[in-house]
């Protein structure tokens, strides 16, 4: 791996993001956390992220809305949606807005890792495509 994957974790449950970031860091990722959609967008203005892991149900700006805005800020960033609710409607909307994957919470760390790596691979591929063209 040439460089660490830059990941932004967004969830209103701060303890969740904190521990998850530690675990992902342990697995070689560069992880930032944000406890709301607004904070996440602010982070994205300053830093470039390869993958954003986004909780769908948050107070204030929810995951789907954050996704829409995030895609405006960094169109190449891949977004993985996480939710406690298997709401098909939000899943379909998320995918339509360009989310990479949709995962049910709680999820296994290995599964999340795998998805993040896939998302990163996709991002790299798209970057290369853009560069070539």
């Amino acid at each position: 791996m040439e460089r660490a994957i830059r990941v932004l974790l967004v969830d209103d449950e701060e303890r969740f993001t904190r521990t998850l970031s530690k675990r992902l860091t342990e697995r070689g990722l560069r992880v930032h956390t944000a406890s709301s959609g607004m904070k996440a967008l602010r982070h994205m203005e300053d830093n470039v992220f390869d993958v954003v892991v986004l909780d769908v149900k948050m107070p204030g700006m929810d995951g789907v809305e954050t996704l829409r805005e995030a895609k405006k800020v960094q169109p190449l960033t891949e977004v993985i949606l996480l939710t406690g609710h298997a709401s098909v409607d939000s899943a379909i909307e998320g995918m339509r807005l360009g989310a990479f994957e949709y995962l049910m919470k709680p999820c296994e760390i290995e599964e999340l890792m795998a998805k993040i790596e896939e998302a990163y691979a996709k991002r790299v591929m798209r970057e290369e495509e853009i560069r070539e063209s």
Partner: protein, 557 residues
């Protein structure tokens, strides 16, 4: 009707009673009314006819009797006018005259000539009356005054009932009387001939009620009759009277022309009503038979009606219960989804924390800790239990999910076969024999195959759990009227009666704690409901359980 909780036994008993009462009164009241009115009119008509009848008898015979008496009297008058007293008292002349008078009827007993002084100067007849003086006899006085006389029936000196008939003749200043007596037998024949039928009786009484003819019903000549005609009046009178024995009679009577005698015709009312009795012999059995029939029919139809009502009520109750059940399920589903969602967040944190600890344990520094295996075991337990909780919440969410089913044409037999293949190996290990009892011409159904697979997997897994070791599961498919059905029958321990109506509720489980979530059947129920079908259960404790799933044979689309 008092309010009693429907579906209770008393309610139906009362309903039945009520119906029977209404039906019986609807049948019997008009029947009895009509019967009573007809009976009344019939008997009134009979009586009226009978009254007319006796009245006519009286009218017809009144004239006959009157003219009989008048004719006899005028015969006597004619005789007195056609002869002189001198002629009659000579030789056989009176005897000749008597023969002429008798004519062909022979109604007279004797003939005599009496002079103005009352002496019987000539006589033909069976008695020795010649020379007797009648100066003081009441009839003599009367005939001298009135010119003619007809007596009542009386016995007289001869002790034989007879009627005296006498006419006065004034011949050139000489007054004499021609006297005769009527043979009562001949006279009686006239009256007694009226007797028609068994109880029509005719007789004559005088003003005092003394019988002038012999009534058939008892009583002799000159005896006092129990019928008193009252005062003379014209025309025919009708009366109804009881005799001393309580027998009711109708009477028709009229005064004869001589004003002394009354012609009476009477009829026993029993005879009048005999026709009615005959009708009764026919009507009463019909009425009784009809009554039995009505009662039987009322009870029979009521029973049928009540049982039909009971059935509809039961079906209604069942439907209500099902509605209630699905309403409950929906409410519980929403609640469950909410809870599941809320629990998922803390669960995620627990999982992550445990994962982080596990990550840390992998570090070299901690590996030398003596209790590290204990830690590892503990943490993996936390992870495992968190995963279990996650399974539960995911199941819950799946149960509450309002997914549009993915519809396709499905062969139920093939689908069940797939499911059986999944579990058959495990079944064999547990000595459970799977029997397929498939209806091979089963049409395909338009439904969601993956959901349906989940349902049958649930049912078969439950069946295997119910059996434990050694037993059989029979899976039957069949074609209903407008549905295809599959039955999963096991030889397991069955379901307790009190649990039977709870088994489709979420979180209800009879399995040991940690073994079942109590969601399998609830999810199956909601899936089958969503697919427009029905899932039902039948169980006998200790013998086994049968789950039936029926899916509608709807056309594509």
């Amino acid at each position: 009707m008092p309010q009693i909780k429907p579906s209770s036994l008393e309610y139906y008993a009362q309903l039945k009673q009520h119906f029977v009462k209404i039906l019986l009164s609807a049948a019997f009241i008009p029947l009895i009314l009509i019967g009573g009115i007809l009976y009344y009119h019939f008997s009134a008509t009979l009586k009226e006819n009978s009254l007319h009848y006796v009245e006519n008898l009286v009218r017809d015979h009144q004239n006959g009797i009157d003219s009989f008496l008048i004719e006899r009297l005028s015969d006597l008058k004619a005789l007195s006018k056609s002869h002189t007293i001198d002629y009659l008292v000579q030789g056989d002349h009176l005897s000749e005259a008597f023969n002429i008078l008798q004519g062909e009827y022979g109604t007279f007993t004797e003939l005599g000539v009496i002079d103005a002084a009352g002496n019987h100067v000539a006589y033909v007849g069976p008695y020795k009356l010649l020379g007797r003086n009648y100066k003081d006899a009441p009839w003599f006085k009367e005939v001298m005054e009135q010119g003619e006389y007809v007596s009542d029936v009386f016995l007289g000196l001869r002790r034989v009932p007879h009627i005296i008939m006498a006419v006065k003749r004034v011949e050139n200043g000489r007054t004499w009387i021609l006297r005769t007596t009527l043979d009562i037998a001949k006279f009686s024949d006239l009256v007694e001939g009226i007797r028609i039928g068994k109880t029509v009786d005719a007789f004559i009484v005088n003003t005092e009620g003394i019988l002038q003819t012999r009534p058939r019903s008892g009583g002799d000549l000159l005896e006092k009759s129990d019928f008193l005609p009252g005062k003379y009046a014209q025309g025919i009178r009708l009366e109804e009277k009881k005799d001393e024995l309580g027998t009711r009679f109708i009477y028709a009577y009229t005064w004869l022309q001589n004003r002394n005698w009354c012609l009476v015709v009477r009829q026993d009312l029993r005879e009048v009503y005999a026709a009615l009795r005959h009708v009764n012999y026919v009507i009463i059995p019909i009425f009784i038979g009809g009554s039995f029939f009505i009662v039987f029919a009322a009870i029979f139809t009521t029973r049928q009606l009540a049982s039909r009502i009971e059935k509809t009520d039961r079906e209604k109750d069942m439907l209500n219960e099902q509605l209630l059940q699905s309403g409950k399920l929906a409410a519980i589903g929403e609640l469950a989804a909410g809870i599941a969602h809320e629990i998922n967040n803390p669960l995620a944190i627990i999982g992550e924390e445990a994962g982080w600890m596990k990550d840390l344990l992998k570090k070299e520094a901690l590996k030398c800790s003596p209790k590290v295996t204990e830690f590892e075991d503990s943490i993996s337990q936390i992870e495992l239990q968190a995963r279990r909780c996650r399974q539960i919440t995911h199941n819950l969410l799946a149960f509450a999910r309002k997914l549009e089913p993915k519809m396709e044409s499905v062969s139920l037999n093939d689908l069940i076969e797939d499911v059986i293949k999944l579990v058959e190996r495990e079944a064999r290990v547990n000595d459970i024999i799977m029997t397929r009892n498939f209806y091979h011409e089963l049409p395909t159904v338009w439904t969601d195959a993956s959901e349906l697979r989940q349902v049958f997997l649930n049912l078969i897994n439950n069946a295997m759990d119910a059996i434990g070791r050694k037993g059989g599961i029979t899976i039957t498919t069949r074609l209903g009227l407008d549905s295809v059905c599959a039955e999963v029958a096991d030889t397991g321990h069955g379901i307790a009666r009190e649990d039977l109506d709870k088994i489709f509720l979420p979180f209800f489980t009879t399995k040991a704690p940690g073994k079942g979530t109590g969601l399998g059947l609830a999810i199956s129920y909601s899936v089958i409901e969503k697919l427009g079908g029905r899932i039902t259960v039948n169980s006998a404790e200790g013998k086994g359980t049968t789950f039936s799933v029926c899916l509608p044979l709807g056309r594509k689309g």
